[in-house]
Symmetry: C2
Subunit: 201 residues, 2 copies
């Protein structure tokens, strides 16, 4: 806002809300006004919930997930199969895989991908802790669920090399046609991979 039309506290709230992904400068203003209007129903509980998160959220020392307990809910869940570990780049990927609810297993969050250009080396990722987890025994399969990008694949190859001497099966996600996807809109690489990995009907 060019002119001062409200107290600095409201302008600061708008500026901070604009940094939340999904909100821009315009929607941050709308969000701030909505929060102020719904003070008791939304602003007060949201502020309390954020303070709660500030106090309680921590990174799981076992798998790198974020949670309010360490080890996290997933690492301590006795109903999960600890023999399979899904390796992901980021907590967001872990949450996405959990939404798919396809496997009831445990995870290992790398915290990024190898990238010589950005100066991300193996020791900057949670790779040593992954190897230590597997060395402890009890893990029979590691599923590399990294993104299908150059950095993701480089990271996957590096991890495969590191695990080569260990008694563990290393697998990766299948490439193919997205469920509900139309062939016409798919890139050649995906189509070629889907053809190559075709399955019996």
């Amino acid at each position: 806002m060019s002119k001062r039309i409200a107290g600095p506290e409201i302008e600061r709230l708008i500026q901070l809300l604009a940094k939340v992904p999904g909100l821009g400068p315009r929607s941050a203003r709308r969000a701030a006004l909505h929060l102020i209007k719904k003070k008791e129903q939304l602003l007060v509980p949201l502020a309390a919930s954020m303070n709660d998160a500030v106090d309680k959220v921590r990174v799981c020392s076992t798998c790198g997930n974020v949670d309010t307990s360490d080890p996290c809910t997933i690492c301590t869940d006795p109903r999960r199969d600890g023999a399979t570990l899904i390796v992901v780049e980021d907590v967001a990927d872990l949450w996405a895989l959990e939404r798919a609810s396809a496997m009831n297993v445990r995870y290992h969050v790398l915290g990024g991908t190898l990238s010589p250009l950005d100066g991300v080396r193996p020791e900057d990722l949670n790779i040593r802790s992954l190897i230590a987890r597997i060395a402890e025994g009890g893990v029979s399969e590691v599923i590399l669920a990294v993104n299908a990008t150059v950095e993701g694949q480089t990271t996957a190859h590096y991890i495969t090399d590191q695990l080569s001497g260990m008694d563990v099966k290393v697998t990766r996600l299948a490439h193919g046609v997205p469920v509900g996807g139309e062939l016409d809109y798919l890139d050649e690489g995906t189509l070629a991979a889907a053809l190559k990995s075709r399955t019996a009907f």
Copy 2:
């Protein structure tokens, strides 16, 4: 999330963020994760700013604006022309007009529009306080900047009736072609109004 994959504090934060306009269930998860990752840079200051807003935000008893002082920044700004009042439905409209920076005047926020169907009567809006402000003297023009909806126009007519005996000029916003707008995409009502109110070139 169907399965418990994180502590209840994180799930509560996601649920509350999903109620912020501009964020849905999916983007709330992304926002929560971003806030948790940028704890010191974003989550801590945002939580503090929200607590600040909870403590300090109040409704201006003069004009109905929201601010951290009462009377608000606009009502106490000595450089603003108090002889002109712009009547708006909502604080969001006040902010929108301020962004246009077209007039350096004061405002009166109605807090809604008359709507017999929804049970909104004149006494539910800040109309009595508007009349009282004008009765105090010093106001020479009231600009009715209500929305061009049926409810907005009904409200404008009601206010005009109430002010008919008073020594004040009542005006409304011009109808016409939006700046940058293409005629082809405009509705007939707007085009007819723009033709009727044509100006010399």
